[in-house]
Symmetry: C2
C-alpha cells in the first residue's frame, strides 16, 4: 500500500485548504471528519444525496473495523470510478485534521445544491428557515433536530455563514448530508411561501399566543384535530441569535407564537428554540 508521506503533496494541500471558507466556496467542497460522520457521508453518497470527492485515512490511526471495512468497500468500487481513497501517514493526516486525537479518516465531499424554486409542499412539507444565523454549531444542531422530527430541510435566508463550516458539519451528526439546505434572500423566501401556500410560524417573547395554543387554521378544507394545530405545509421562521425576528420579518408570519419565559432571559439558545418548536409542531401538526 502506498502511503502519502508529504504534507506538500498537492492532494494533501488541497484537502488542508478546505479548512478555510474561501477554498470551500471556490472548490464547492467541504471536509467530513471522523468515523461516524464519514460513514454517514458514504451512506448519503450511496443514496445520491451527496458526492464524495475523495477519502483520506491514516492506517496508523484508524483502528475501527467499521471504518476499515468502509475504506475496503470504497476501494473496490474505485475500480468502477467511484471514490479515490488515499492512505496517508499519521503526520500527514494530522496536518489536515481539525481535532486533537483524530480518528484517522476524513472525506472530501461536494454538497448537492438545491434552488428554492424546486421546493414545494409535495417534496418539502415542513421545515425551518433561519434569517442570518451567526453560529455554525447552532446550524448543525438544528439540522440534527430537523432529522429527528422528520422535517424536510433547512432554508438559510440572507445568510453569510458558511453551512459547511467544520463546526456545522460536526454538530449536524450527518444530517447535513441528507437534507436539502437552501440559501435564498428573505425577499425570495417571502415570494416563495406566498406562491406555494406555506403557513409561516414565527416566535417572539411578546406574542399573545402561546406556542401550545395555536388557533385552528381557518382554511376551509381541514378539521381541527388538536388544541394546537400546526398546519402543513409549514415553515418555522427564526431570526438571528442576536435580535430574533425583525418587525419586517415577523410581518410575513401567519402566526407569531410565544414560548413561556419564566425567568430573566427573554429568549432561548437558537437551536434550543428550534428544537422545542419542532417537537411542538411534530405533535400538533396536521
Amino acid at each position: 500500500m502506498d502511503l502519502i508521506s508529504s504534507r506538500t503533496n498537492p492532494k494533501i494541500k488541497q484537502a488542508r485548504a478546505l479548512r478555510g471558507r474561501q477554498s470551500r466556496q471556490r472548490n464547492g467542497l467541504f471536509l467530513v471528519e471522523g468515523i461516524f460522520q464519514v460513514g454517514e457521508a458514504v451512506a448519503a453518497a450511496q443514496a445520491g444525496r451527496l458526492a464524495l470527492d475523495s477519502i483520506f485515512y491514516a492506517p496508523e490511526l484508524l483502528k475501527s473495523e467499521f471504518a476499515l471495512e468502509l475504506v475496503r468497500g470504497l476501494r473496490v468500487e474505485h475500480g468502477a470510478a467511484s471514490v479515490p481513497c488515499y492512505a496517508v501517514t499519521r503526520q500527514v493526516f494530522e496536518s489536515i485534521a481539525d481535532k486533537e486525537n483524530p480518528q484517522g479518516i476524513l472525506a472530501v465531499a461536494r454538497p448537492t445544491h438545491y434552488d428554492l424554486g424546486v421546493l414545494n409542499p409535495s417534496n418539502f412539507s415542513w421545515g425551518v428557515a433561519l434569517v442570518s444565523p451567526q453560529d455554525p454549531g447552532n446550524l448543525g444542531a438544528i439540522l440534527r433536530s430537523i432529522d429527528a422530527v422528520g422535517a424536510s430541510g433547512l432554508l438559510l435566508l440572507d445568510c453569510s455563514l458558511d453551512p459547511y463550516h467544520p463546526s456545522a458539519v460536526r454538530a449536524s451528526m450527518g444530517a447535513l448530508f441528507w437534507y436539502p439546505l437552501v440559501q435564498a434572500s428573505f425577499a425570495e423566501f417571502t415570494s416563495w411561501v406566498k406562491e406555494r401556500g406555506y403557513t409561516v410560524y414565527g416566535t417572539s417573547a411578546h406574542a399573545p399566543t402561546d406556542y401550545r395554543q395555536v388557533p385552528p387554521s381557518d382554511l376551509p378544507d381541514r378539521q381541527s384535530r388538536s388544541a394546537h394545530p400546526y398546519t402543513k405545509p409549514m415553515i418555522l421562521l427564526l431570526g438571528s441569535e442576536r435580535q430574533g425576528l425583525t418587525e419586517e420579518q415577523a410581518s410575513i408570519c401567519h402566526h407569531i407564537l410565544r414560548m413561556p419565559m419564566r425567568g430573566r432571559v427573554t429568549s432561548l439558545n437558537l437551536a434550543v428554540a428550534a428544537g422545542v418548536m419542532l417537537y411542538a409542531m411534530l405533535e400538533g401538526g396536521n
Copy 2:
C-alpha cells in the same frame, strides 16, 4: 481618571490568568465579559447570588450609556467597600478580553458554592442533572433554558468540565449567575434523590414510553391533572453528549422516556434535548 496602561500590572495579569482553568479554580474566580453579561452579574451580586471581585473597563471602547451608568453606580458604592472598578487602556483591555471587538467591560466574579446537602424539595423543586457533560456551550445553553422554564438549578455529576469556562458563561446569558450550580458524584446524587423523594426522569432512544405520555404517578396524594403528569419534586437526568445514560445511570430513573426520532440520528444535541424535555415538564408538571 487614572488609566491602567501596563499589561504587566498585577491586577491585569491576575485577570488575564483567569482565561485559564487552573487559575479560575485556584482563585475561585471567573471572568464575565460584555455589557449584557456584566449587567446581569451586577444585578445578581446585588441580589446576593454572586460576589463581584472587580470590574475592568476601557473608556475608549465603552460607549453604552447603560454600561457607563453601571460603572458610575459601582464607583459610588465603592466608597462603601463595594466593587473596585479599574479604567484601563484599550490595549490593556484587549489583552484580557476573549473576543475580537470587545465591548470594553468585564467583571471578575466569585461564584456562590452550594452543597447538594442544602438542596431539598422546598428550595429546589425541579431541575436538571447532567452526567459528565463535555461541552461548556451546552452547559450554558441548558442554564439559559432552566431560567426560561423557571426550574430551580443545575446539578453536575462526575463532571470534569469547568462550568465557569468562558463559553459556558457566555452561552448562559447570565443564568449562570442566578441559579444554584452544584457539583456532586453520581453516588451522592443517587442517595440524595432517594432521601429527598425526587422523581427522576431520564431519556433513551429505546424507551417504550413517549415523553408526552408519562404514566400518572402512583403517589396516593395527588390527582392526575394531565395526560403527561410530570411530578415535582423532579429531576431531569441526562447522560453525556457521547453516550447518553449508561445502564447504571438509567437504573435510578423512575421513568425512562423516549423522544421521537423519525430520521437517522438517534439523539438530539444535549442542550436541545434538555430544552424539549424542560418545556414538556413545564407544561405537564404538577
